[in-house]
């Protein structure tokens, strides 16, 4: 799994939490460009992608990741709620959206439809 978020605190907590639940976090990136680079290099199965990034938006990064060969499963996360983004989430092609306050190994697993 790859975590892309500009908040180091969130990345650390998410890595700790998901790692404890059995997810293998291969890398973290703090912005869109770093995220795309890491995804091309490491080919993660899942990308946990923040919507608001310093250099671009998560929607844009998701489109680029999904356009490549053997694309990962993209899960968008944000401190905001899904309602704040409307149809942008659907249109991005991401597998789903999780509000950060709802993020847990269980909710992620439910979204991915599989056990960790």
């Amino acid at each position: 799994m790859l975590i892309v978020d500009d908040h180091a605190g969130f990345r650390a907590r998410a890595r700790q939490m998901l790692g404890a639940a059995g997810y293998h976090v291969v890398a973290e990136a703090a912005d869109g460009a770093g995220g795309i680079g890491a995804a091309r290099r490491l080919r993660p199965g899942v990308v946990l992608l923040d919507v608001q990034l310093p250099d671009t938006t998560g929607f844009e990064v998701a489109r680029m990741l999904l356009a490549g060969p053997s694309p990962p499963v993209v899960v968008l996360v944000s401190a905001r709620e899904a309602a704040d983004y409307g149809r942008l989430i659907e249109r991005s092609g991401a597998a789903g959206f999780l509000s950060k306050s709802d993020l847990s190994a269980r909710s992620l697993g439910a979204l991915l439809g599989q056990a960790p």
């Binding site: 907590r13 939490m17 404890a20 401190a79 709620e81 309602a83 704040d84 409307g86 942008l88 950060k100």
Partner: protein
């Protein structure tokens, strides 16, 4: 006043009595006994001088009067040949054409007597240069010889040459003079074609005179070159003298027309008197009085960036530069400019007319200027109100963004940390502690939810991300009453979209709180350049515009971007909020 005609008659009588004796000193050598020749010749010069003096007296601003006097005097200059000295005789042979050059100058510079364009200056300077060159060349090469020649009747300037050379010089000067006559006539016609209505009125007498005058000049110049019958020459000369005698009065009439038009100023006073004139009629009345339908009035008002000119609607307007083909006359009051008339350049030749028209309209102009000032201030207040709203929106967007990036992120991370602590602790903590931890997590989630709500109220992120249609859908989705949204408009300016969002947000909040409604509709439609937003419910109605600071604030916000806001709420028959918002925030 009554003595003047008598005086003039006496002068004319004295001049007539002195004519014969004086003629021998002033007039043309060799023709002193021929009255058929002398009288018309003298009439031409006298009419130029007389009309010129009249023009100088009546229209001192124009140089045309002085030019006419100069032409009249030039007409008489060959008379110096009567003085029996070779130098005067030789000069008298050369100065004859000076009259024609001054005539060209007059035609080209009428009615101001000033040369304005490079072309005009070129034509007149060329004519003077041609005259000097031709005279010098002729003086140097002509050696007249005839039977019975007296000793002083020879050319003192003669230097070299032969009859043949002098013939060539004569032919070249003749061709040049004909070309100049045609060019001058063309220039006058071009003036006429390009002139505006007031300009044409002054040019009319001159336009009619230019063709016969040019024809006469050409025939007269060709006289010695072309063989025609003597009787034809007599006819040409007689006609020519008639035209030349009448010509100065044509110039004079053109000049005086300006004076005659001052009567129009009297009408202006009557028209503007009594009642305050609306702006359009003040402009129209002044345009009529000045005979310039293109007239514009600009007013000087104090503005936020210092004093400047505005039009009658209060819109800022710059004075046109010289290259725009318009003239500007600034009207002063106590030394300070109060207004400017932007008019046809032809009116510049009539400063008295402009002055008296402006004086007659002074009160109306002052009145109009004050109104223009109020309109200009109103525009400025509207613009600044819209700017304040826009600045407020920018601030709110920033605050929302900061909340999201700061407090919200920290609280979310904190909630994740607490969740992990709870998971790790598993069953190895006392039940009481586990319960407290669960409560704390629940409390924290509540706080995160509250903060989201607050951030959304400050500025809806979805509006920036997705536009008005999506933002309204999300508002509708959160409303406890079922809401149908119909959106049928293109994207608008941010100020209009944010305002529309808050109208719908406030409207739906009222539906949820007070209306006891079972359903509501939100409709956004294109309305010319702007949008029309309507929020309607089937609830209790009876909402008053004055009640609730929410609605009052909403009405202010809509007005600030130049829109209108209305509430229809008859008791028992539902409520409709209608806002019409310009797409352009001005």
């Amino acid at each position: 006043m009554t003595r003047r005609p008598v005086l003039l008659a006496a002068l004319a009588g004295a001049a007539a009595a002195a004519f014969r004796p004086l003629a021998s000193y002033f007039l043309w050598p060799g023709h002193l006994e021929d009255l058929n020749f002398l009288v018309p010749m003298t009439a031409v010069g006298v009419s130029f001088v007389a009309a010129g003096i009249a023009g100088m007296v009546r229209r001192p601003a124009s140089r045309v009067g002085a030019l006419m006097v100069a032409a009249g005097l030039a007409w008489f200059t060959p008379g110096i040949g009567n003085i029996p000295l070779a130098i005067f005789v030789s000069l008298s042979w050369q100065v004859g054409s000076l009259f024609l050059v001054l005539l060209a100058h007059l035609f080209v510079s009428f009615p101001t007597g000033r040369l304005r364009t490079r072309w005009e200056r070129g034509v007149v300077a060329g004519a003077y240069a041609w005259f000097v060159l031709g005279s010098v060349a002729d003086a140097l090469t002509w050696n007249p010889v005839w039977p019975g020649q007296r000793p002083f009747e020879h050319n003192v300037f003669y230097a070299f040459g032969s009859p043949h050379l002098n013939d060539v010089v004569g032919t070249v000067t003749t061709v040049g003079s004909v070309v100049f006559a045609v060019v001058v006539a063309g220039t006058v016609v071009r003036h006429w074609v390009r002139a505006s209505r007031p300009g044409r009125r002054a040019l009319a007498p001159v336009l009619w005179a230019v063709a016969p005058t040019a024809a006469w000049v050409i025939l007269d110049t060709l006289e010695s070159r072309v063989l025609v019958s003597a009787r034809l020459w007599d006819a040409v000369h007689t006609l020519g003298y008639l035209v030349l005698t009448a010509l100065p009065f044509g110039f004079l009439i053109g000049l005086l027309r300006v004076r005659l038009r001052r009567g129009a100023v009297g009408n202006l006073v009557v028209e503007l008197g009594g009642h305050a004139a609306p702006p359009a009629s003040l402009r129209a009345a002044l345009a009529r009085a000045l005979g310039d339908p293109s007239l514009q009035i600009l007013y000087r008002v104090a503005g936020p960036g210092g004093a400047g000119f505005v039009d009658d609607a209060g819109r800022p307007a710059a004075l046109p530069g010289a290259e725009a083909g318009r003239s500007v006359t600034v009207l002063d009051s106590d030394g300070a400019p109060v207004a400017a008339l932007v008019h046809d350049p032809a009116l510049e030749s009539e400063p008295e007319l402009l002055e008296s028209a402006a004086a007659a309209a002074r009160l109306a102009i002052d009145n109009e200027r004050l109104q223009a000032e109020v309109r200009s201030q109103l525009r400025e207040v509207r613009a600044s109100r819209a700017r304040i709203v826009e600045a407020g929106d920018r601030e709110r967007r920033l605050v929302e963004r900061n909340l999201h990036d700061g407090a919200q992120q920290r609280l979310v991370t904190l909630s994740m940390a607490l969740g992990m602590i709870r998971d790790r602790a598993g069953g190895c903590v006392p039940a009481e502690l586990a319960r407290d931890l669960d409560e704390a997590i629940g409390e924290l989630r509540g706080a995160i939810g509250d903060l989201r709500q607050l951030a959304r109220g400050i500025h809806p992120a979805i509006l920036t991300n997705e536009g008005l249609a999506a933002a309204l859908e999300s508002l509708a989705a959160r409303c406890p009453v079922p809401v149908a949204v119909r959106y049928d408009a293109a994207r608008r300016t941010e100020a209009a979209e944010v305002t529309a969002y808050f109208v719908v947000a406030e409207g739906l909040a009222n539906v949820a709180k007070h209306a006891r409604a079972t359903s509501a509709t939100v409709t956004v439609t294109q309305d010319g350049a702007g949008i029309r937003v309507e929020v309607a419910d089937d609830g209790a109605g009876g909402v008053c515009t004055g009640t609730g600071s929410g609605l009052r604030g909403l009405a202010d916000r809509v007005a600030a971007i130049g829109g209108t806001f209305a509430i229809h709420s008859p008791p028992g028959r539902g409520t409709r909020l209608i806002a019409e918002l310009p797409g352009d925030a001005r």
